[in-house]
């Protein structure tokens, strides 16, 4: 496995494209396996090989060598002898998703990296995707198709996908996911395989359940009880194509409890150390989505995991300043102030304070905060505008 330049797709569902009637879907795939080029399965793999070639040039690729090596090492510890058959790609997209294509192309989106709290949680997701690959679930799914219209729709999407780059089209990915959503049994089986791979690699299996609990928290953030009961998350790429996370979290917790205890890897410190260099980029991408309640869940987790760190308070301030309702300006000011308490040189927190003062017409206070911001971030992208505020 290597996380290098290749292609982008929601392969979790798209693994069905390996489908070949009577070709052995559901049977474990052998290490080093590749279908014959003149087989249906081989033709379908070729579609994804071309798509993967396009991914090499995606502007969304995260190509940092150290981060790619880190994720690759985790995936290889899980995949064992199948490691050389898979290729991983880190993709800058602020939504929770990871996927595996039938030809061994795995994607991990930055929105997932942001939400994992430790290495074991990332290993859980990677292990699940590897589980689909090892069990050839997509092929099995294709063999189960008896509906010509569904097959025709699938082929249409596959042909469109072969047109170049279309696999990166998110609505297309959701459509594909809906057509080829794995059965509950397959998802559970992949979870089970993933859990086993985690344990074999020394990871704490309970973390597989925890990541789903985190997603549930986010999904339900800011909703009333009635809204939670009536929630519809079709707009979410991940929830649109996967079983309810409550079921998954509960089942995974039960399965994890069946493994013997003992010292196992959680890897919180080393995960956070690796992710730290990209945390601000990922959080800025998250903040741009203006999904304030969900983002606050992420911020709260970050605050708990990083006591004394100024950044989570700054992000909290950004969320409230962006939401800009009711008491939000006060909440934002309090959060920025706590960021400053933790780090008086936090330039972006000073910027936030300046904006809040200016909104409220406190020009002198705004000027003081903005001047501090410009001192600390001399190459600020909004320097000219801020300078106009302070009369510099």
């Amino acid at each position: 496995m290597h996380f290098t330049r290749r292609h982008l797709l929601c392969g979790c569902a798209a693994t069905a494209l390996t489908g070949c009637v009577g070709a052995g879907g559901g049977k474990p795939i052998a290490a080093g396996y590749a279908p014959a080029l003149d087989s249906v399965e081989g033709g379908l793999w070729e579609i994804f090989n071309k798509a993967e070639a396009d991914l090499k040039f995606s502007p969304l690729r995260m190509t940092d060598e150290e981060l790619n090596r880190y994720v690759t090492d985790i995936a290889c510890r899980l995949a064992g002898s199948h490691c050389p058959d898979m290729r991983g790609y880190l993709v800058r997209t602020p939504f929770f998703n990871a996927s595996m294509a039938p030809n061994g192309m795995m994607q991990v989106w930055s929105g997932l990296l942001l939400r994992c709290q430790n290495e074991a949680q990332l290993a859980a997701v990677l292990g699940h995707e590897i589980g689909h690959y090892l069990k050839r679930h997509s092929l099995q799914r294709f063999e189960q198709m008896r509906d010509n219209a569904t097959i025709a729709a699938f082929l249409g999407i596959a042909v469109a996908a072969a047109g170049g780059g279309a696999l990166a089209n998110l609505p297309g990915l959701v459509a594909l996911a809906n057509i080829f959503a794995f059965s509950r049994e397959q998802e559970r089986e992949a979870d089970g395989v993933g859990l086993e791979l985690m344990v074999n690699a020394g990871y704490s299996p309970i973390e597989a359940s925890e990541i789903w609990r985190g997603l549930i928290q986010e999904r339900d953030a800011g909703l009333t009880a009635d809204e939670r009961a009536d929630r519809k998350d079709k707009s979410d790429v991940f929830f649109a194509s996967h079983p309810a996370p409550e079921d998954r979290a509960q089942t995974l917790a039960l399965q994890a409890a069946a493994y013997p205890g003992g010292k196992r890897i959680v890897g919180e410190e080393r995960y956070l150390a690796q992710a730290r260099a990209f945390r601000d980029m990922m959080m800025q991408d998250e903040l741009r989505l203006h999904q304030h309640d969900r983002t606050l869940v992420i911020v709260d987790r970050m605050k708990a995991a990083n006591p004394g760190d100024a950044d989570p308070f700054y992000y909290e301030g950004e969320v409230y300043r962006s939401r800009n309702e009711g008491l939000d300006d006060g909440l934002a000011m309090r959060a920025y102030s706590r960021a400053i308490e933790a780090d008086d040189d936090h330039g972006l927190a000073w910027r936030g304070i300046g904006i809040l003062h200016r909104r409220a017409g406190r020009e002198a206070d705004a000027a003081t905060a903005f001047q501090r911001y410009l001192e600390l971030v001399p190459d600020a992208s909004d320097r000219l505008m801020i300078q106009s505020y302070v009369g510099a």
Binding site: L8, S58, P59, L60, V91, R92, T93, P94, G165, A166, A168, N169, L170, P171, K232, S235, D285, R288, L289, H290, Q291, R321, S322, N324, R351, I355, R358, R359, S381, D382, L384, M385, I386, S388
Partner: protein
């Protein structure tokens, strides 16, 4: 209050490209582009029919090579509590503009509107600066985005907030070749913008 029941511009232009009707806007011709704003055309722009853009949130959309390639979009009067864009048949809540926002707030409002309405994998804004628009103190900034087809797009936003109204013009085109091709023309058109009666 103006009704803004439409589709996000970036989404819509791809649909429009197949069926839009266009009217050439002659260079030197002063034309209205929404509520109380006129501009003088510079370059080979065509205006997309009002019927076709009535659900975009924009008041006028012009293009040179087709709306899926490049477009000038005019927002003549966004009022407090209103979004810049609206996605129809969706429960997606878009950011709204509010009186009293600072220019950095407005930049983030535009950024968030585009990101959320279009489910963009990536967008970043840059170079926020003072800029006179409609004869009033205003702002300008650029943005870079990657759309769902992984195409890199660049945009220029010029606007002003005054009298409880946000007025803006955006110029958007693929980063490679197309943005630079008509950028000067777009800036020149922005420089001609006037409030009716001013």
């Amino acid at each position: 209050m103006k009704i803004r029941n439409g589709m996000a511009t970036l989404l819509l232009v791809f649909v429009l490209s197949a069926c839009a009707t266009y009217s050439k806007v002659d260079t030197g011709q002063r034309v209205p582009v929404g509520e109380g704003i006129t501009v003088t055309a510079v370059g080979g722009w065509a205006s997309i029919s009002h019927q076709l853009i009535s659900n975009t949130g924009a008041d006028a959309i012009w293009t040179v090579d087709g709306p899926s390639i490049n477009h000038l979009t005019f927002y003549s009067a966004i009022r407090s509590g209103e979004p810049m864009l609206v996605v129809p048949n969706s429960d997606v809540e878009l950011p709204v503009w509010r009186t009293g926002m600072t220019e950095p707030d407005v930049m983030e409002f535009v950024e968030g509107s585009l990101a959320k309405a279009n489910k963009l994998p990536f967008i970043e804004t840059e170079n926020l600066r003072p800029h006179t628009f409609l004869g009033q103190p205003g702002f300008a900034f650029e943005f870079n985005l990657v759309n769902q087809k992984q195409l890199e797009i660049r945009g220029l936003v010029i606007g002003t907030q005054a009298g409880g109204v946000l007025r803006m013009m955006t110029y958007t085109a693929p980063k490679l070749h197309f943005f630079a091709k008509d950028e000067a023309s777009a800036r020149a058109i922005a420089a001609t913008a006037q409030l009716t009666g001013s």
